[in-house]
């Protein structure tokens, strides 16, 4: 998720009322565990995610994620350089 998020950053998450493409979410992935990715699209009850970095795992490799595995929407990042709001892209 670099450069949006770097190793060691803390994020504040809130329980999402709705899922909106473009925002960053924390997902309990069935194979990868807890991951932070940006929501690309929702198709029925499945969500497609991607990373901000061009070298990120592609959405094809991440696979479709059951929306029930989305645990929170990341709203703020606390980094060594300060606090920043995590905006929709």
């Amino acid at each position: 998720m670099s450069p949006t998020l770097e190793d060691g950053d803390y994020i504040l998450i809130k329980k999402p009322r709705s899922l909106r493409p473009g925002f960053i979410y924390v997902v309990n992935h069935i194979d990868l565990g807890l991951i932070v990715k940006r929501l690309e699209a929702i198709e029925n009850q499945s969500a497609v995610f991607s990373g901000d970095n061009p070298a990120s795992l592609s959405d094809t490799l991440l696979g479709k994620v059951d929306v029930r595995r989305i645990t929170g929407c990341a709203v703020l990042a606390v980094t060594p350089k300060g606090i920043k709001r995590l905006k929709r892209i």
Partner: protein
Amino acid sequence: MLHNFISKNDDQIATASAHCDIPCGVYDARTIMYHAVSTLRQIDILLSLKEKGLSETAFAMQVARNTAEKERQAELVKHETRIIWGDFMKGDHLKKHPGAHELAHKIMMAGSACKQDLHREDGEKLVALCNEFSEMFWDMKGVKTKTAPCPYAPNVDVVIPAL
């Protein structure tokens, strides 16, 4: 400053990965079953060598070859089990199946027993433990399984995903 403050309580905060490296998520217990069955097959072949009326040289050669293959297959059972146990089984998987650690360790011991000696019971035990591990693994992935005889010697029952 806030980052410094939070980092002092880092161990209380859950970690989520933003960088996936290369976890491809491709885990498959069928490889474990293949190697377990192969180990048992090598044991059967070795136990049957005396009845083949081989010359002393041919007998020694067969023992050497099949023992080397038995060793290799048993080690592959242990290797593939370690990968799934160490890389895939975590978090909710382990909460659902707390016996995973003990079962993985039993497979390690059973694999070693197959390498160290020549008893069919050791091979049968290895296959049985791997079947149990396979069922546990597929349940963690939410995939139903079935038991079917493998279509080749030693024709033992194996747990496979009902895909």
